[in-house]
């Protein structure tokens, strides 16, 4: 008997069990898969860079720290963007009440973007650096933290984002608008427009960094936050059956608070780059307000979850959404607030304190919500199956992966915070930030031990990530029960 004959009944059974995914949802799955591959790359290169703090000779001259760190950061940014794009493709048709406009173009766009990302990473790893010419910046590496992608890739990214924006906006225009979709589309315009601020070269480093922060800050501390606010609102409706009028009102409150504090909160990056002294006051004041919307998000998520007695149709997704609310508040809010006043930042700027904040904030605010959306997508893909309490294996895989990743990231964060405290004292306050003082800070036992602890917790995080992959590959596969019915939102 041929394998085709054997496979046919299985395929037929699967097709009958799983509701057909829409074009946008099928595309979302591709983005999620690519995002997870990049998550793996981010973690692998993070481990290499962390090891080099302990063993500086490790891969010296082959894969130096600057290359590993660049790939670590870029893989993170791109997997989060892929996760956001996937989440938006996942929800756009449901939210608009119509089919995706330009589905074929969207598919081609995915492959072009993914091919470009692959080429950029290969060039980072193989060519690494160029000569001091404009050609290097156009073809190899722009050498500006977070936005290292060479200029040809920048242009490609803008074109791909344009196509993505067209798909989303045109779908809403064809279907219906809502508070969530209106906010989302306006936010995407700002997000794409801000990227242009990073696409030029200037000799003047102060001007360079002024605009560079427009991209970096106004993405991660403003437009990305609003974007995840939109997808969080949709996620709470779907997993809990939260009422649309409530999540939409909360979304508007969050937008007002987020942009009200975050736009001028940009000023906390303008303390020491040559910009005028008034930024010390403006940046300090407005960035000190930035945790307020994050508190609002926690209140919102906990209120909605509590109001529905934590009865959700997707426990892993809801758990990651709650992890997002708290992680965002702790990582972006509390850890950011710690060093946001100029009187403190004068000593903590450019130390491990910042990387402590960065790790917890990116994980807490963004990794968590993308993972939540992947669970939402998988549930439907596997046939709209049961993912509430009473999973066949007790749901140990998603629980352990969530726990290990949270403990791992929190442990790394605390280790780097201790290292940062020590640097602020020894290098900045006592040593006056000379190179001698820098290295004295790096050789203190508190710093060295922190680097070992960071490594150990990095391994814990990696174990959690691997269990996550295992869970994503298996959860709901042999499940026959339909998804729990949560009260569906009845308003639009």
């Amino acid at each position: 008997m041929s394998t085709a004959v054997l496979d046919a009944p299985i395929a037929a059974a699967r097709a009958a069990a799983s509701p057909a995914l829409s074009a946008g949802q099928r595309l979302a799955l591709k983005y999620f898969l690519a995002a997870m591959v990049l998550f793996l790359a981010q973690t692998a290169f993070g481990l290499l860079a962390g090891l080099q703090f302990i063993y500086p000779e490790f891969l010296f001259g082959v894969l130096d720290f600057n290359v590993n760190r660049m790939v670590h950061l870029n893989a993170m940014i791109v997997w989060m963007l892929y996760g956001f794009i996937g989440s938006i493709y996942w929800l756009v048709e449901d939210e608009a009440g119509t089919e995706l406009v330009g589905a074929r173009l969207a598919n081609v766009n995915f492959w072009i973007l993914t091919a470009a990302v692959t080429v950029v990473v290969i060039v980072y790893l193989v060519v690494q650096v160029g000569s001091g010419t404009r050609a290097s910046i156009w073809l190899i590496n722009e050498g500006r933290e977070y936005i290292e992608a060479p200029r040809w890739a920048d242009i490609g990214i803008v074109v791909c984002m344009g196509v993505f924006f067209y798909n989303v906006a045109a779908t809403f225009m064809k279907g219906r608008w809502s508070g969530i979709s209106g906010t989302l589309v306006l936010d995407l315009i700002a997000l794409a427009g801000l990227y242009l601020a990073g696409m030029f070269y200037t000799t003047n480093l102060s001007v360079d960094q002024y605009w560079w922060w427009w991209v970096v800050h106004l993405w991660v501390e403003a437009t990305w936050e609003v974007l995840v606010g939109c997808i969080m609102a949709w996620g709470l409706m779907k997993t809990l059956g939260a009422r649309r009028s409530i999540v939409t009102t909360w979304l508007y409150i969050e937008v007002a608070l987020m942009f009200g504090s975050g736009i001028l909160g940009l000023g906390h990056h303008y303390f020491w780059i040559g910009t005028p002294e008034y930024w010390l006051a403006l940046g300090g004041f407005f960035s000190a307000l930035e945790p307020i919307p994050l508190v609002a998000m926690v209140v919102h998520a906990v209120y909605d979850a509590g109001r529905h007695g934590f009865r959700s149709n997707n426990h892993p997704a809801l758990a990651w959404l709650i992890a997002h609310a708290f992680g965002n508040f702790l990582g972006a809010g509390v850890w950011g607030f710690m060093q946001t006043l100029p009187q403190i930042n004068l000593y903590t700027h450019g130390t491990q304190w910042s990387s402590s904040h960065g790790h917890l904030a990116f994980f807490g605010a963004y990794a968590t919500i993308v993972i939540a959306f992947i669970y939402i997508a998988l549930q439907k893909w596997r046939g709209d199956v049961w993912m509430s309490a009473g999973l066949p294996d007790g749901g140990w895989k998603w629980k352990w992966s969530l726990g290990l990743q949270c403990v791992g990231v929190m442990g790394m964060t605390m280790a780097m915070l201790i290292a940062g405290y020590e640097q602020a004292f020894v290098e900045r306050a006592m040593g006056g930030s000379t190179w001698q003082a820098y290295f004295e800070g790096q050789t203190q036992p508190w710093f060295i031990q922190a680097m070992y602890w960071r490594m150990a917790f990095g391994v814990v995080m990696t174990a959690g990530m691997l269990i996550l992959f295992w869970d994503l590959l298996t959860i709901g596969r042999n499940e026959t029960r339909p998804a729990k019915d949560v009260h569906a939102p009845d308003e639009v």
Binding site: P56, T133, N204, L205, I273, E277, G350, R428, G432, Q442
Partner: protein, 199 residues
Amino acid sequence: MSDTPWWASQDFWRKCAIFVTAFMAVILIILTFDTVDAITSGSDRVPAYDVINYRIGYEFDAERNMYAPVIGGEAPLFATMHTEEEARALVDLGKLTVQAKNCMNCHTLLGNGAYYAPDLTKAWLDPGWGNEQSRELLMTLFLTDPVSNARTFGTNRRMPDLGITDEEARGVIAFLKWLSAVDTNGFPHGFEPLPQGGP
């Protein structure tokens, strides 16, 4: 829905979101015009590129209650007085080299970047170069052959050989000298430069 007070209504918060966002964006745009003007090279805060012809210090300014760069007498880089155009070209080569060699993913510039290697904001003034007379030579030797000339201060962290040419090294040194003259509102605090003021 009619029981909803005005301050909890969707309509009120939608208007708030639009108004607050627009207002803050306008303020940021106005401040941007002022700031970009204040940080254009040749301004009080960000010097012209021919500052590389002068001695640069870093002293506590009691009036501002912060450290600030002090531009002194002539001290031409590589014993050559550069015109503004020549100086700009040299600093530009340095900036391009700093980007193309991906310096920022080990070092920090103005405190931004990675934390694997020291901050370069005041690299030109760092006491580690010994004295004014030996500085340019030591910097050139280090940049062009960082492995042989490594100084790891007990960390074993070395800078890899990035293939920096003599010309690129001169550009990087000019860029770092110019950078040390940027007014950074007192960052880094308490920094004492190497002894200067020779002939």
